[in-house]
Amino acid sequence: MSRRFDAVTAVDRFSLTLAPGEFVSLLGPSGCGKTTTLRMIAGFLTPSEGTIEMDGRLISSPASTLPPEKRGMSMIFQSYAIWPNMTVEENVAFGLEVRRLPKSEIAIKVQRILDVVQMRHLGGRYPQELSGGQQQRVALARAIVVQPTVLLLDEPLSNLDANLREEMRYEIRRLHDEFQITTVYVTHDQAEAMVTSDRIAVMNQGRVEQVDEPRALYARPRTRFVAGFIGRTNLLDGLVRGAEVAFDHFAIPRRRFPEAEALDGQVSFSLRPQSILLHRQPPPASEGAAVIAGQVVQRAYLGEHWDYTVRPVGGALALRVTARPHEVFEMDEKVWLELDPRQMARLQPE
């Protein structure tokens, strides 16, 4: 589906199929169309083109859209949207009341879900009396208690401080494992997406760049954008010349690449900083790796690791290399870089 606002195309030919019980994240920078997509799924927005189906039933199309209240979904908002005029219990009970459940059953369900999110002791409080994290838990309880067909989360953790955010990521995944609700999670934080999701759809400028499991996304990014957005990386542009792939002032034998036959013409790779090894002496020749000489041009000690920038001799390219804390190299020191072509992820041509 697509969605345009006047001349601006916010979502451009988005296509995704969710399996029942699956947790999928929409990940991308702000303005990439992920929230618009989510609001289309929720029924707050009508697609300009394309359709949304749920269990084989058409629920959104440019001609008509099933209103949000008839979709049986629930959503967690960036602002939590906890109603300040109702207590915690009243907030949580709202969806059940709308569904006309008997009062006794509502009371039981509310207490049970408040237990699950560890908020039972605060049931009588008003939202203003809760901390951000507690409000977040109320929002989760309110959304889950109705057993929605799909749970939608719109940057739910962006208003929390860093520690709490980390805790809540695991909490959200725990709740998913417990209730197995099909979930769409919108975030711009890759760590959030990787902790919570079965699959991640990386979005950029309204389009889906890649949909994959978190590990595959990191190890095998398919586009420059994905490679740069998920973690840090080095982008290497090369040209296939006979038996070699020539880069900026160094070359790697073509046969060392996986799928060597497919390489042709202009090629680009993503290589993670921790996949490059640094040596003070030339390492013994090995079958897999390529060794090139370079010079340390910038370094920073970050406690958990060293962050080096190394420039291959004669080249303009600067490679980021992550090394363990005890691997100390001085500024301007001459070093040898060991690159493993099997770690280099081939990117689609732009």
């Binding site: 209240e69 949207a81 906890i82 109603w83 709308v98």
Partner: protein, 570 residues
């Protein structure tokens, strides 16, 4: 898929609340568009045949005394607006930027001025500066031994002064809110470059507030030319006319609606044009100081001059509030106001007469408050619904609705009344002669106040609160009832009071639309003015003021101290 199934699905998917919105939009058309359209149409309509004609315009501008009234209006408007600057700007600067003492008192006096209806102010000024008997004249005679005092309120000057006294609070509020937003750093920047306090104020502070002052100047001018009460009480005895009094005379039996419609066109056009200009002035982006955050502010130390400034503030508010209030109180409780302040002159007879004995006020008093309450509720309900429709983009032409809801803001009350008269005295919808025409005219007149307040209240609520109710299965109307409604309550209480207060004292539209049995206090007060019974007039005015004060105090409690003179009017 078959067509029938597709239609069925579209129906199922349709948000049914759309019908409610359409109904409200229709009501808006009845209230705003139809009267305006009928006014315009009437101005081109032959009184007998109903055919298209330009005769009405010829009649309206064919006589010198009609033109003269128009010129008088412009002169009075300009002079009053200038006087408002003289009154309002120094006070605003004193309260906002200086260490002048007694700011609370000055503020309260401005509020008091704002609460006094202009026609009551006019009555008070007649008591104060009427030739011979006026208190100021008698005080002058007593002091100097002269036979007669120099003051005469029945003059162009008197009218200008009275109008300025009761409209300068706008100037004060506009200027003050602009000054409040100018950071001291702006002034410090001038000081560090060697400018003294006076130069800094004149070259930096006031110029930064200039767009606001200009905007207020335009508002004051428009207020002055659209005013009916004070001019009718003062200009008519002084034997000169302004546009509004002329329009009123055109409505003397038999009413010449078509000519009045034609005659009101310049008033309408000037108003629309100047409000547009004012909007542009305020919206100018060059004055960053007025759009950004305030930043730190320090007060200018005035030294001994602060007493001079306080003296000036008290002088102005004496003219507008303290003295008029005093004479009104005295007259309301006096057997004969001319006998002055003495114990044996005190009586509750007037109040009793107004509240209980006089049949006309016995109906007018409840009428006033019932109509005002009904008008406030209608205006508020409609405004809220329109603001909601626009904010949530429920219909494709939302911006246009905003303009329609705000349009009465640029229609002088008197013109609106003529439009209502033209639209609802004949079939298909005859409202003239019923209370509804007054209620609906009041509702329309104050719709913009209701709209700006509803809009602000609505914007303070995160739409996600409502989305959350909907995604959990509540329809839009349920979300409104359970979530949005309860959250709006406080904001709407303030808005209700802000509409109710002007509706209780509205004169300029009521005077054209009332009939026997639907009189309100303002109309009655005006009607009784030519009998010269100032004790009764003062009592009626006092009742209005007391009710207003009570409402304002409730407003303070419920909504907060600044709700009344907030700059939400534009």
């Amino acid at each position: 898929m078959t067509d029938a199934a597709a239609v069925a699905r579209r129906w199922r998917h349709l948000d049914k609340s759309v019908f409610v919105w359409l109904l409200l939009i229709a009501l808006l058309l009845v209230l705003v568009i139809n009267p305006l359209a009928r006014l315009l149409w009437a101005s081109f309509q032959h009184p007998e045949t109903g055919a298209f004609t330009l005769e009405n315009y010829a009649a309206a501008y064919g006589r010198w005394r009609y033109i003269e009234a128009l010129i008088n209006s412009l002169v009075v408007g300009l002079a009053a607006a200038v006087l408002c600057i003289v009154f309002g700007v120094p006070m605003a600067w004193a309260v906002s930027r200086t260490d002048m003492p007694g700011k609370g008192l000055v503020w309260a006096a401005v509020l008091g001025t704002f609460i006094m209806p202009n026609y009551l102010g006019a009555v008070a000024w007649i008591l104060m500066a009427g030739p011979n008997a006026g208190r100021l004249n008698r005080a002058y005679s007593a002091l100097t031994g002269a036979a007669a005092g120099p003051f005469n309120v029945y003059s162009m000057t008197g009218l200008v002064l009275v109008i300025a006294c009761y409209s300068f609070p706008y100037m004060f509020v506009f200027t003050r809110s602009a000054l409040d937003l100018i950071s001291s750093e702006m002034e410090d920047a001038a000081s560090t470059l060697g400018a003294g306090a006076l130069r800094t104020t004149l070259r930096v502070t006031l110029p930064l507030a200039l767009p606001a002052i200009m905007g207020a100047f335009i508002v004051e001018f428009l207020e002055a030319i659209a005013l009916f009460g004070a001019p009718a009480l003062i200009a008519l005895p002084a034997r000169f006319q302004v546009m509004t009094t002329m329009l009123w005379q055109m409505f003397e039996f038999p009413p010449r609606v078509q000519v009045a419609a034609a005659y009101s066109m310049p008033l309408l056009l000037i108003t629309v044009f100047l409000f547009w200009l004012q909007y542009r002035l305020i919206a100018r982006k060059g004055y960053v100081a007025l759009t950004g955050k305030g930043g730190e502010r320090r007060l200018v130390r005035l030294g001994p001059w602060r007493w001079v400034l306080l003296g000036y503030c008290l002088f102005v508010t004496s003219l507008s509030f303290f003295l008029p209030m005093l004479v009104v109180l005295q007259a309301a409780f006096a057997r004969a106001w001319g006998r002055g302040f003495s114990l044996d002159n005190l009586t509750l007879r007037n109040i009793r007469f107004v509240l209980i004995d006089q049949p006309a006020t016995r109906t007018a008093t409840p009428n006033t408050f019932v109509y005002a309450a009904a008008a406030s509720l209608i205006a508020l309900g409609l405004a809220l619904a329109i603001a909601y429709i626009v904010a949530r983009r429920l219909v494709p032409f939302g911006r246009a609705l905003t303009y329609v809801a705000m349009a009465p803001f640029v229609i002088p009350g008197i013109v609106l009344a003529i439009g209502f008269y033209a639209a609802y005295t004949s079939k298909p919808l005859v409202l003239y002669g019923t209370a509804w025409i007054l209620i609906l005219a009041f509702a329309t007149r104050f719709l913009p106040i209701a709209y700006t307040n509803s809009d602000a209240a609505l914007r303070s609520i995160n739409p996600e609160l409502e989305d959350a109710a909907r995604i959990l299965g509540g329809g839009r109307l349920l979300a409104l009832r359970r979530v949005v409604g309860p959250l709006l309550r406080r904001g709407l209480a303030g808005a209700f009071i802000l509409v109710f207060i002007p509706a209780t004292r509205e004169l300029s539209s009521a005077i054209f639309l009332y009939t026997t049995g639907t009189q309100v206090l303002s109309v009655l007060l005006f009607d009784k003015s030519d009998e010269g019974n100032f004790e009764v007039l003062s009592s009626m005015g006092l009742i209005l003021v007391v009710v207003t004060v009570v409402l304002v105090l409730i407003g303070f409690r419920v909504v907060g101290r600044d709700f009344l003179l907030r700059r939400t009017a534009t």
